[in-house]
Symmetry: C2
Subunit: 254 residues, 2 copies
DNA sequence: CTTGCCGGATTGCTCAACAATACGTACCGT
DNA sequence: ACGGTACGTATTGTTGAGCAATCCGGCAAG
């Protein structure tokens, strides 16, 4: 399942942050990142990408143990290389590393959800308020909404979820900060773990698609105060629904 | 220099993100992280802590190459173990990992400074505005100010810098979000790299101590709007000064 | 001065081994 | 039946060596 969806966004190299553009004054611009395109290698990076994609897609459910020897053999890499990849994923909070016990796909609790939504409320609302947002970010917001609506009409709920997170990434991109974008990408990846812990994941996205559209319009029209208000309501509702799902899940069989 | 200062804050385990507090409803609070205190082992964690402290204190200056074999031999750990620690630090952006070339202590440029301050403006100002801030966070703000003032009177500039960053960490803590705190700790650690790239690092902290005190008072009195305004001015000035320092540095011998 | 080539050094990754730790299970006394 | 102990096994933590791939510096040729 979930195998047919695109790998979402494993683009983040995560370890090569800077092309360090040479100070040469010559007109050779546009080549500064060519180096990165060339040696996109590094087994560890690709390994982390693969595992990240598997976790985000739900192929590896929260709580699953990732035994080193087994995974290393299955994928065909050395145990040491796998451990390096695990360190990255642990730093992204997609897996937890319990000493002498192993690494497990992260299981989030109610406190995590509350913390995630506290962060989202603060960052997303502040991003909407930022002056002089780059126009391509606004366009990206609209594009995400369109994608989500297509997904709804075709009942591709997984894609709807992806588009929803893309929508909120685009909102954060209004702030125009790379670090903020990275942080939010990681937090939204965490959020996918919560969805995978639920039954009927799609019901957590589908009702919000039209709200996203409304918020997008408000942003496009520069009505930031109203957009922020709508966003707060949105986030409160979504948080409450997820907390309800977690409570329900823990009530029955845990 | 800088050797006499305390290791600042190497507390962040960075790889064991969660004590995973057991859902047991019993009143055994405060013990959830006892497990971590016990097996505080893990060579990789301690190794990362050591390197992080060295970098943050300035013992390892930006641009320094950390050759695997040399460092591993010097510290007395295996090369594989060291590589795992490097992955952590690279993810924290304290070092850069250039494929087939090695890892270097990160060198930040003007764009990095702008990005860091864009993030700080957004996050810190929003944190001040958050309702219902935990009182211990406010107390921590005041404590940081006091420490900074003691540092000034004793001309311990390095401690003044540490206290300044502690002040801003405390401001972010007003939001009461663990993830936000972690992110800001990492960003402020990055900022220390910028300071180490400058001549006379202390002149970037000393003029701001009394401003911190004023902001702290405004926060304590609940005058958030004024506090935010003062914070924005503060951040703008600090950013401009750092950018000036970088420009100056790149003008002469790079 | 540029181009091409070579040798030395470093990194990327693998493999195998051993110590340290956690877990399941059988055993034991009460 | 219950709590505790001991033990064997499986997994992780860490090490060390080794080889291919890659980068860097220098040197020779054009």
């Amino acid at each position: 399942m979930a195998q047919e969806t695109a790998p979402a966004g494993p683009e983040s190299g995560a370890s090569e942050p800077d092309p360090e553009p040479h100070p040469s004054g010559s007109r050779l611009a546009g080549l500064s990142d060519a180096r990165l395109m060339l040696d996109r290698t590094s087994t560890v990076s690709r390994l982390a990408d693969v595992l990240r994609a598997q976790i985000i897609e739900g192929a590896l459910l929260p709580g699953t143990q990732l035994a080193e020897h087994a995974v290393a053999d299955a994928i065909g890499v050395s145990r040491n290389t796998l451990r390096e990849a695990f360190r990255l994923l642990a730093h992204e909070r997609l897996v937890v590393h319990e000493p002498h016990r192993g690494v497990f796909v992260r299981t989030l609790d109610a406190d995590d959800v509350r913390d995630i939504y506290a962060t989202r409320r603060l960052v997303e609302c502040a991003a909407v308020r930022v002056e002089g947002a780059p126009p391509e970010a606004v366009a990206e917001i609209r594009a995400a909404v369109d994608t989500a609506e297509v997904g709804v009409s075709e009942k591709r709920w997984n894609d709807v979820g992806t588009a929803d997170l893309r929508f909120h990434s685009a909102i954060v991109a209004l702030a125009g900060s790379r670090r903020l974008n990275d942080m939010m990408r990681r937090i939204l990846a965490e959020l996918r773990l919560v969805f995978h812990m639920m039954a009927d994941p799609h019901r957590f996205h589908e009702p919000y698609v039209h709200r996203n559209a409304a918020i997008a319009t408000l942003i496009e029209e520069g009505r930031t105060a109203e957009a922020v208000q709508a966003l707060i309501v949105y986030l409160d509702d979504a948080e409450a629904q997820l907390l309800g799902g977690i409570a329900e899940r823990s009530r029955l069989g845990r």
